[in-house]
């Protein structure tokens, strides 16, 4: 259960940054001045540490 949870959590940012990008490949709406696809990628890059940290919690590493 724990292992599956970790795997799913890890896949979320990876998929969001790769296969999901063609589906959000749009200029509008702009967020913080950034074209939407650019914002999407930036947001997921900075969200990745949160996912990894949560995985560590789930695996009781910290």
């Amino acid at each position: 259960m724990q292992r599956w949870g970790a795997a799913v959590l890890a896949l979320v940012p990876v998929l969001a940054l790769s296969v999901a990008v063609p589906f959000v490949n749009r200029l509008n709406p702009t967020v913080l001045g950034l074209p939407f696809v650019f914002f999407w990628i930036v947001a997921w890059v900075f969200a990745t540490p949160l996912f990894l940290w949560t995985i560590g919690r789930l695996e009781r590493r910290w």
Binding site: A10, V14, L17, V21, G33, F46, T48, E59
Partner: protein, 484 residues
């Protein structure tokens, strides 16, 4: 003329100062191959973070990323994305590799293959593949260095000789200091690069456009088409993006220097902490993108390889020479420090797995230390010769090197997940992958699929097929048990 002297003087002082700082911290400790190559497996979370950030963010991050933002726009987004994907993979993979390396006393990346698959020939193959892909990688750094020195000299002289000399100085530094020296030099490099990126990505846009949002507004108005990816069917479209992100993120840790950094960790925990915090460092790349976009608005019209120089040319034209000097110096370190880590990782690989295991030469500790050191210089020389005769644009070289390097990944992953993988299977997969990558890089792929990605798929299929065909009746090489 005085401007060039000031800027180049600063670059020279920063390089010299960094080397002295690193030598001062590491000089008296290099006595064994373990200390020289992997720092006696003693690096804690923070030091490891600085070393990894030092290795990963090269002159490509500095010049190439800005150049891509300037010249291509949206395809550059992949550079931001793949790092975060790679760190996620690293969270799971690196602690496993580390544990095996510690238990079995491994020193190099190829050692991992020798240990798991019981074949020194496979180890040699891996070592030669990595040597072949690392030479263009180092070459790329010398090219980056030359561009920076050329700009810092205000184009008044040919920087070829200066870049060659700086590179040789760094090779001698690695010869003396080993991995611990490289890690200390990374400390200086990381700090300077962060400062330079902040200047380029925040101060330049504010100076020219009042604020970052104003710059982005103008960018949207004037360059709308380049801010989203092209449709799937075009050469740098969405299919290219997805396959490139996947390929480059799985290949991320497959260089010999990444294995060395992994082995140098004090604990598996240190590696996991690293993986959590490394994506934040991608912020540096975001700043570099802003610098590239600012350059596009301030100084449009640069083409081809010149777009790699875009934001440096803005600094050169509009800012005092000391600013140019400091930024060029950070860029020079971003070329030299990763090059030093690569030289060391590759040299240890050739010394141990080709000369030692393959030819039975230099197998004692003292002899191995000496042969590693000599090979640092030999490989540096090879890279220099390659550079003098074979230069192409920064990113082109990087992708070729990456495609070759990534082919060893299936063998690493199978070590943990598939106990029936054999040395023949892994070796045949690597060779097939490289052949496909070489063949595809000469022609255009359908829908712009990344050639390395297609090669990796072929590699995995061959690995599975040949492994099943070459099963021995006794199961002599159990997979490493996964641990929670």
């Amino acid at each position: 003329m005085t401007g060039a002297v000031v800027a180049l003087g600063i670059v020279a002082c920063v390089i010299a100062g960094t080397i002295i700082f690193a030598l001062w911290h590491s000089a008296r400790r290099t006595t064994s191959p373990q200390e020289y190559i992997i720092g006696n497996r003693s690096f804690g979370s923070l030091f490891l973070w600085l070393l990894l950030a030092g290795e990963v963010y090269t002159s490509f991050s500095f010049l190439g990323a800005a150049g891509w933002a300037y010249g291509r726009g949206a395809p550059a987004y992949y550079i931001l994305a793949y790092g975060a994907c790679a760190y996620t993979l690293g969270y799971f993979l690196l602690p496993q590799i580390w544990r095996v390396a510690k238990e079995r006393g491994l020193l190099t990346s190829a050692d991992f293959f020798v240990d798991r698959y019981g074949s020194r020939t496979l180890g040699m193959l891996v070592a030669l593949v990595q040597l072949g892909s690392m030479i263009p990688y180092v070459t790329l750094q010398i090219s980056g260095l030359q561009i920076l020195l050329h700009i810092a000299g205000y184009g008044m002289f040919d920087a070829t000789a200066a870049a060659g000399v700086a590179f040789c100085v760094v090779a001698l530094f690695v010869f003396t200091a080993g991995l611990r020296g490289t890690a200390w030099a990374s400390v200086v490099k990381d700090a300077l690069v962060l400062g330079a990126a902040a200047f380029a990505g925040i101060v330049i846009p504010m100076h020219f456009f009042g604020s970052l949002p104003h710059m982005l507004e103008r960018l949207r108005a004037e360059h709308q088409a380049m801010l989203t990816l092209a449709p799937a069917s075009s050469p740098s479209g969405t299919v290219w993006y997805v396959t490139t992100v996947l390929l480059t993120s799985v290949g991320f840790y497959m260089g010999p220097q990444s294995f060395a950094a992994t082995y140098s960790a004090k604990s598996a925990e240190a590696l996991r902490r690293n993986a959590v915090f490394l994506p934040l460092y991608q912020g540096v790349l975001l700043l570099v993108f802003f610098a590239g976009f600012a350059a596009l608005l301030v100084m449009p019209g640069l083409k081809g390889a010149q777009s790699d120089q875009s934001f440096m040319l803005v600094v050169q034209r509009y800012y005092p020479s000391w600013v140019l000097g400091v930024i060029a110096a950070s860029g020079a370190l971003a070329a030299l420090i990763p090059a030093s880590a690569i030289l060391l990782g590759t040299a240890s690989l050739v010394a141990k797995n080709v000369i030692g295991d393959g030819f039975g030469i230099a197998q004692s500790d003292a002899a191995r230390l000496l042969s590693t050191r000599v090979l640092v210089l030999v490989i540096a020389l090879l890279a220099l010769v390659f550079w003098l005769y074979e230069r192409s644009s920064l990113v082109g070289l990087l992708l070729i090197a990456y495609n070759g390097m990534t082919q060893i990944l299936p063998g690493v992953v199978c070590a943990f997940v598939w106990r029936r993988a054999t040395a023949w299977g892994v070796g045949a997969g690597i060779l097939a992958g490289i052949l496909v990558a070489a063949w595809l890089s000469a022609s255009a792929t359908p829908w712009g699929i990344n050639p390395g990605f297609a090669a990796l798929v072929v590699n995995v299929i061959v690995l599975l097929g040949v492994s099943i065909a070459t099963q021995s009746s006794r199961d002599s090489t159990p997979a490493y048990p996964p641990v929670g």
